[in-house]
Symmetry: C2
Subunit: 224 residues, 2 copies
Amino acid sequence: MGHEVLAGVLQIRDGRLQVLLWQRAREPHLHRWSLPGGRLAATEDVETSIRRQLAEKVDVHKLTHVEQLAVFSDPDRVPGHRVVATAFLGLVPSDTDPEVPADTRWHAVDELPETAFDHHRIVLAARERLRAKLSYTNIGFALAPAEFTISELRRLYSAALGYQVAATNLQRVLARRGVLQPTGRTVPAGPAGGRPPALFRFTSRDLQVTDPFAVFRPPSGSVG
Amino acid sequence: MGHEVLAGVLQIRDGRLQVLLWQRAREPHLHRWSLPGGRLAATEDVETSIRRQLAEKVDVHKLTHVEQLAVFSDPDRVPGHRVVATAFLGLVPSDTDPEVPADTRWHAVDELPETAFDHHRIVLAARERLRAKLSYTNIGFALAPAEFTISELRRLYSAALGYQVAATNLQRVLARRGVLQPTGRTVPAGPAGGRPPALFRFTSRDLQVTDPFAVFRPPSGSVG
């Protein structure tokens, strides 16, 4: 039995949630679009392997977050010899444009081209994980620039979630959890005038679950 | 390369978070304690496999929740031929006592016996996943009886989280999310007298993320 690693690398580009795919130049599934990844080598674990293989498609320093997504293990998921896949979710912030190889392009997740094997399912699982984590973690840091206005953040959350989020509600929810903080700076007001919008940043750029029970945790962090 | 599936099956027993382990009767790691599971067979995916193999250790009808946890893939995680493991989290409600084989026992997670291979790490990952999900989902349904008082639920959450949660705060957080509902029934008051405690149930026994942005979701459920 073989084992491969694959990554659904997502970024908000042009106001849409997009995924990085490369076009196959060989059979099987000639010309279909594939997720980056490949065979797990003998001396590496799955995390080491996906980072090595992503580095061949995209500057991994541009990735703000990588996590295990799920195992895809249908016996017939690829033709021939059985291959189990460990799939990852990767995120790139909206203000970078990583260099990618000639066979590789970003595609809107809601308008995918013909994909290879079960990669369509993996892309949708990556989107689902991102959407869920936007609800209960600070993962927005991995989609956003280092500093942003609430209006910019609203556009990123709306594109990722697939429905419009109100700026006031977004700010209220994130502020209550303590994941946003003002930088003290503003950007110039738009052509309509008014108050110059404030710039915010995420309090932490490490993934954290926003835990309503954490106030009861003993200060030592020792929880047995 | 081989592939195995393993499950960290957790239950609150005697007020403590416990895990189901069986004692190895053969080398390697003779007499050490192992998670239930085994080799992935040629015709099954990992979910089918873990449910089949759990059925040999515990009545699977007693499991209220099973989910993929993570892949464990250190090249040397088991001696000899390389084996990658897909680990699962399983949960059993506190009011059942499944029959288990003679080689199998429940062990408190904070007082584990000597475990085989990397199974200690997997048990701790299962506990960490459960604790995180108690914060952002309705997963408490899978630990609790069908009906319970807030006081009983508080003891389950406290045992799983590893620190004391106040009953009033627990009720407030879960009520705000709409995951608890009163049954309209009570249990007799304790020896100290007072008002008979109300019985509650979980609104849903399917795992749901409690999503603060969901109010903006279009009613159709069509989110592109």
